[in-house]
Subunit: 252 residues, 3 copies
């Protein structure tokens, strides 16, 4: 119902778009007791994100959205978004380390929040749009981006604590390549299976005694892949996110 | 259902009243990562607000409430409330400026939050009372006070950044006079139309291509004016707010 | 539905358990604008709590849970939990005093939040598990532990401000003994009546003109006592709390 909201109340729509763009920054600021409005202080990023938001929702005849239905462009944007994700995670881990020395749980939490923030606060982002689905949240049913961000946060924390015998830039490079390749593969093949499905099923069986896990993971993967089709405008605010992040990245 | 809550749980009722009184302070503190309980440190204000809350809800035979059904008294209280609103906005803008230099978006956000805080967190204030209406919030359907506070925050931020060629005290004076006159007019004529309805419709048509905006704005105006009838006790906690702010102001 | 959640999503279950364990710490940190993730920095406590969480939910044949169905063990754990409650309240009061000098309302609020945090944020803890019951919260229907923590916070604040002519360690001793005795009595007799029921009814009648209070308090007491039966696994996350706190205490 993003289109309906955009017609009824541009302010709520803008606020919701900003939350899904800068959610990671807001959430990690809250966790470290820093001003969550700090993202507004970077005027350029906010202006760029706002202009993309405006073009997406109010452009006559949906020209902007149609451009992004062009597949190579979508691949490019999705790839760039994954690159910024790596940067966010490393920034979050380093930031947390500067607050709490050697608190590896805090580092994981903040890195995860910074990287996957928009997903983790999706309940409150929906509340702004007047939607409230308490029975679903990203912790109950983790989508693939949230999962992969969690793994990334754990890896970078291990590297930061020098438990992983690998140089930092190598890890960043490998993780980014993995993210981009996985994302592009998922978009091209329209595959719904998470690459971790088998691993998860095994772990779930070993540690938590789950039997029905495999089928569940698969259906969940189907859902998340539907949600990430980039310019399927009425579905959700997902694609705004990607587009804005690309813009923000270009300026940096 | 404020009366029912007051009978069932005085604590929740008191907490909800405090939130609607000091919501602006709490919200702007959260946004700037300052202790949101700071308002409790000003013992006098809290005690005054609490005593008014007590008189409103538990006074025998509703004497207190009947006094405020007297029209001139209601006008006086409503006017005073609008005066404190101006003070809050300017305080919020100045406070934000002391944290982030020249971040005009932060200044607008904090000024708005400080001035209209009770409205913006109304969802959570309702949650305390056991009510949950996710489909309505002040961002989706901005009521008139929230709108006018947003405009005020923008104006004072522009003045603070020296984009507006007007002295500060002149702007405060003009804005306060505008607020009081509009409020008193709305109360006297029981008019439901927001003074900005026509302007909003034009802007909405120009920028967001809204067609059905005018009728929508009008019905919304009707709702907000119903809500602000000062001593209509069972409707909501709105009037507690006005009454307490008057008291708080008198002590300052 | 804690068991169902634990099968569907171990992450959400773990997060919910951590919130109910460290909720007081998180809430009081938020109130004083300190990093709410600070509790993760104490690795030992979190690891212990996590291991208990794991044993409770994923132990084969429920061995761990059956052990705690043994009454003397349950009494011991419940008693220890009450002892830590006293410590938490005094720590909260002292901490608040170090931030705001002589702000007795802040001291009460922070002490209360630290001592009864898990209960006060129960709505959000439920949200993590995908449950949302807006019509019930701890402010609307205070359970016995939340009530007694509020009284404790008031007492320790009075003592801290030297209004109570009693030494600090004496007050701690008396309050802890009172807590433990009341809790054990309630568990042994399966009594549902809160010890304050009569006092509350009188106060409610005097100040708030409640007539139907007594019957209401009693039914509420019945509910809260049901919830606190220690190893009634499917009911709620209540017992995890007790168990983990015992572990956390032993390490200190």
């Amino acid at each position: 119902g993003a289109v309906e909201v955009s017609v009824r109340s541009p302010v709520a729509c803008w606020f919701s778009a900003m939350l899904s763009c800068f959610g990671g920054s807001v959430l990690s600021s809250l966790m470290l007791a820093e001003p969550p409005v700090a993202f507004l202080a970077k005027g350029t990023n906010v202006l760029l994100a706002s202009s993309v938001w405006y073009l997406v929702f109010y452009c006559p005849q949906d020209i902007f959205c149609r451009c992004f239905a062009f597949l190579p462009l979508r691949l490019l944007v999705a790839g760039m978004k994954e690159v910024t994700r790596t940067w966010k995670i490393t920034a979050g881990v380093a930031h947390a380390d500067s607050h709490f020395k050697n608190a590896w749980l805090v580092m994981i939490a903040v890195g995860w929040a910074r990287g996957a923030g928009g997903g983790l606060i999706s309940n409150f982002e929906q509340l702004v749009r007047g939607v409230w689905k308490p029975e679903t949240n990203e912790l109950l049913k983790m989508s693939y981006p949230v999962k992969v961000t969690l793994i990334g946060a754990v890896l970078f924390t291990l590297q930061h604590s020098q438990y992983l015998p690998i140089a930092r830039h190598n890890l960043i490079f490998l993780y980014t390549v993995f993210l981009v390749v996985t994302k592009v593969t998922m978009m091209l093949t329209r595959s719904t299976a998470s690459p971790f499905a088998r691993l998860e099923a095994t772990l779930g069986y070993m540690f938590f005694g789950m039997q029905q896990a495999p089928s569940k993971v698969k259906s969940e993967g189907a859902l998340s892949s539907n949600g990430s089709s980039v310019c399927d405008r009425p579905s959700s605010g997902q694609h705004r996110d990607g587009v804005k992040k690309r813009q923000a990245k270009k300026t940096e």
